[in-house]
């Protein structure tokens, strides 16, 4: 259900940026969604019209996104691996110590209008 909160935050930020750039009607919003954020794309699609309806400048916008895989760098053996596929455990040395390289954020990449 946190898709709703994510969308509200996105809508507020996009509205602000649209105002700064004199865009009255945003036609497209493009996001990158990290796979560690637990977003269910279907819920995002379903909730978007509801949230967009409350922010006039994105009311008619189309929401597009791509999911960014979660990559980690093993602190112990330097392997780079997919965190979701391996449940955060290095497939080479089985260590849980790692740095998250990607997939840990949701970014507004661009808007059109």
């Amino acid at each position: 259900m946190h898709e709703l909160g994510i969308l509200y935050n996105m809508a507020k930020t996009v509205t602000k940026i649209a105002e700064e750039n004199n865009i009255d009607n945003v036609t497209e919003i493009y996001l990158e969604i990290g796979s560690l954020k637990g977003i269910v794309p279907q819920f995002l699609d379903e909730a978007f019209p509801y949230v967009a309806g409350q922010f006039p400048c994105i009311e008619k916008a189309v929401l597009k996104y791509r999911v960014i895989p979660a990559k980690g760098l093993c602190d112990d053996c330097n392997a780079i691996y997919d965190l979701c596929d391996n449940e955060g455990i290095c497939p080479r040395c089985h260590s849980r110590n790692k740095k998250v390289l990607s997939g840990d954020d949701i970014t507004i990449v661009q808007i059109s209008g």
């Binding site: 509200y8 970014t107 507004i108 808007i111």
Partner: protein, 223 residues
């Protein structure tokens, strides 16, 4: 035909919230008020834990409480019955509080004369952990009936919290709950996390938890 403008942004959707949360912390620091964000599943005993904690430490520091729920004000009424200043925040269908809602709540509550404000977040182990509320410390409650595997299933919650209360230890004999395992799993997520096994019903373990809390309040407000 009107030209279409394309604006490159590359901005995290959490950026504005995080900036607002940092502003809240700065203001609280100046006011010498400590904000604790309390998170857990529904029914893990947040309000009961809070009621006992307030009863024990009320004379030592001045406390205010913000209760966040999707609907109803039963929790705020239970807190207000103790004489503690409290307000109810309705999230309007949202499963968590963000920094903006917290700031509105703090304004409504009035924090200048308070040493400690407790924010009882919406009961949920997933969403509240995603948003920085501006709290000085995050505390999670996990109760025995929920099972010792929860730090494995909800990693973010345990990563974001500085303290974890394992509540309802009085009913441990009736559940297959492994205390060593839950500590191991929570530390796996966050090696720095302080863990306090407690029973909000009997008061067991509350001395250690309250000492930690009072120490945190004191450090924030006096340094």
């Amino acid at each position: 035909m009107k030209d279409v403008k394309i604006i490159e942004i590359k901005k995290s959707i959490f950026a504005d919230n995080d900036a607002e949360a940092a502003r809240i912390r700065e203001k609280l620091k100046t006011e010498k008020t400590f904000l604790m964000n309390m998170m857990s599943s529904p029914g893990s005993g947040k309000t009961t834990t809070l009621l006992r904690t307030i009863k024990d430490i009320d004379g030592k520091i001045k406390i205010g409480v913000m209760e966040a729920d999707i609907d109803s004000s039963v929790d705020a009424e239970a807190i207000a019955a103790t004489g503690t200043r409290s307000i109810q925040i309705h999230t309007g269908g949202m499963c968590h509080l963000d920094a903006g809602m917290t700031e509105q709540g703090l304004k409504e509550l009035g924090t200048e004369d308070l040493d400690l404000v407790v924010l009882e977040n919406v009961g949920n182990l997933v969403c509240p952990a995603e948003f920085d509320t501006g709290a000085c410390k995050n505390v999670a409650i996990l109760s025995v009936p929920e099972g010792h595997d929860k730090p494995l299933k909800y990693p973010l919650m345990f990563e974001k919290c500085q303290a974890l209360l394992i509540n309802k230890i009085d009913v441990m004999p009736y559940f297959d709950f492994d205390m060593n395992k839950v500590i191991e799993f929570a530390k796996m997520r966050n090696s720095e996390i302080e863990i306090f096994p407690v029973s909000a019903k009997t008061g067991e373990g509350f001395n250690e938890w309250e000492n930690w809390l009072l120490n945190e309040v004191n450090q924030w407000n006096n340094n």
